[in-house]
């Protein structure tokens, strides 16, 4: 136990810095993924043919092993001298976050009660008014569920980003493995788990706070 405390005392600032680094990497990736995924998901509800194709591509993306995808990023970004570090990791994480975000947005908007949509049109709402006043508010919990899934996936996959020099909590784990240092491995893993739980809890709070009372449950 003493050894643990000593380890944490020495490494606390570093663990904290790496956690922040991890959170920034994932946060930035999710933000960009949202800006792409939500509008795309909404657009796909108006184009069935494209919807199928896009959702399939996004599904395939999620099945690529993360280490392979990170590996692929290196030669691609080497062209612009960004082969390793933040940028390739960020791009890979944006790709991984797409499927849950696009799929949930698409499904949620599609599943808005057609009678409700009919009433909205019949009352004379413009498409954009219908979207913001009726469709998105009623689809919100399902869209949020997709975002939460994406965040948790990204925090996990973000660990692998350490291999291509993007930093984050993966650094503790990879160093621990190469040095055979269990303290490092366990600390890194626990920190990742805690980060994931905090992020998910926060998003759940947002989801509850902004879900219309009458459609909660």
């Amino acid at each position: 136990m003493d050894k643990w405390l000593k380890f944490l005392e020495i490494n606390a600032p570093r663990i904290f810095d790496l956690t922040i680094e991890h959170a920034i990497l994932v946060g930035a990736a999710i933000l960009v993924a949202l800006l792409i995924g939500v509008p795309l998901g909404i657009y796909l509800t108006t184009n069935d043919y494209l919807a199928e194709t896009v959702l399939q591509i996004a599904s395939v993306m999620l099945t690529i092993p993360s280490i392979a995808l990170f590996g692929v990023m290196i030669p691609i970004f080497s062209i612009v001298n960004l082969g390793i570090g933040f940028v390739p990791a960020f791009v890979a994480l944006v790709l991984y976050a797409q499927l849950p975000i696009i799929r949930n947005t698409y499904t949620a908007i599609r599943n808005v009660d057609p009678e409700m949509r009919d009433a909205a049109i019949g009352l004379g709402m413009k498409p954009i008014q219908r979207l913001f006043r009726v469709e998105i508010p009623n689809a919100f919990p399902v869209i949020m569920a997709g975002i939460r899934t994406a965040v948790v996936i990204n925090i996990g996959i973000g660990v692998i980003a350490a291999y291509i020099g993007a930093g984050g909590l993966g650094v503790l784990i990879t160093q621990g493995i190469t040095r055979g240092d269990n303290y490092l491995i366990i600390t890194g893993s626990v920190a990742v788990a805690i980060l994931a739980m905090i992020a998910d809890g926060f998003l759940m709070w947002i989801q509850k706070r902004y879900t219309p009372k009458s459609i909660a449950n």
Binding site: E115, M116, A119, I121, G122, L123, M125, N138, S214, I215
Partner: protein
């Protein structure tokens, strides 16, 4: 006023849902579109606010071709009520009711006042219900809210697609009456879809009976019951159409033509009935033998006389059955 001019709807697959329908809904009248399912009544209704396109012919609203208007503007000028009430669960009752005024950019104060007035119409407390959400209301209350939402911006025309169809019979009758009261005040031009013959007879100034997208007859309820133009119309209203037509007459009309019986002060087991009651309900009351004597009273409670099954039968015989077409074939 809504005028249908050879209005036709053909779907892409070549199916014709509405075939060259011609009729006019006069200002301030309720016209019920009636017919078996698949007869095109809902399609015809939805063509008015362009939720369905018009394949051929025209629909004129107050003399203006509906196709010449912007569809968004058009819909905001037409109240729309649907069976499932279509209230938005993410909005409070007040927000729901005030959607169209809000889209039209009314001031906060005007909206508040209008909401109060509308809630008064349906005897619901605006303070108590304004901040609630639709799921916190009963089915009947939700449907009332659906109706006043359509009335919110005071549109001259209203479209109602089986608005009371999902309610249980007792509540439905109550809301129908309430709505007729409101209509007396607001005098909207209303197109109303129903598959319920009793509802149609009750609500309609005129009925449009449709079959397979074609207009079979356009007439007042009593004309349609008494003088059906074709075998289809006759069958549609059924063998009991004579009894159905009783709901269009009140005890007062019977009193004026045939008169009531003397009532016997000696009989203690009596019930009273208002002279404005319709004859169909009166008859079922008599048949149920709820009391030995049924005394008719006016609004002030003065006893006018007694009513019996014999008298109602006489009235039915002379006033309704005596009409030529029914005697011949009915």
């Amino acid at each position: 006023m809504i005028t249908f001019d050879k209005t036709t709807k053909t779907y892409d697959g070549g199916v014709t849902a509405v075939k060259g329908v011609d009729f006019t809904v006069e200002k301030g009248e309720i016209v019920v579109l009636l017919g078996p399912s698949g007869c095109g009544k809902t399609t015809l209704l939805r063509m008015v606010n362009r939720l369905e396109s018009i394949s051929d012919g025209k629909i004129m609203i107050d003399g203006e071709d509906s196709m010449s208007l912007d569809s968004i503007e058009l819909r905001r000028k037409i109240g729309y009520v649907i069976q499932s009430n279509g209230l938005f669960p993410n909005m409070t009752i007040e927000e729901n009711v005030m959607i169209v005024p809000d889209l039209l950019g009314w001031s906060k104060k005007d909206k508040k006042e209008r909401f109060k007035k509308l809630m008064n119409m349906i005897s619901m407390d605006s303070e108590k219900f304004g901040k609630r959400y639709p799921h916190e209301l009963s089915g009947g209350q939700q449907q009332r809210i659906g109706v006043i939402r359509a009335l919110a911006a005071d549109p001259p025309v209203m479209l109602m697609d089986e608005p009371f169809g999902a309610l249980d019979p007792i509540i439905r009758e109550k809301i129908q009456d309430e709505f007729l009261q409101i209509q007396k005040e607001v005098k909207k031009t209303i197109l109303f879809v129903s598959h319920d013959i009793d509802e149609a007879i009750r609500m309609a100034d005129k009925i449009v009976l449709l079959r397979g997208g074609e207009l079979m007859q356009y007439d007042t309820p009593s004309e349609m019951l008494v003088r059906p133009k074709s075998e289809f119309v006759r069958e549609f209203f059924g063998k009991d159409r004579a009894i159905k037509s009783l709901s269009l007459h009140t005890i007062r009309e019977l009193q004026d033509i045939i008169g009531l019986a003397e009532f016997d002060e000696g009989i203690t087991d009596t019930i009273t009935i208002n002279v404005n009651h319709d004859l169909r309900n009166t008859l079922s009351m008599l048949l149920n033998q709820e009391a030995d004597q049924v005394i008719v009273v006016d609004d002030e409670g003065n006893k006018l006389g007694a009513i019996t099954i014999d008298i109602v039968q006489k009235y039915l015989h002379f006033e309704i059955k005596a009409k030529p077409t029914l005697v011949e074939k009915g």
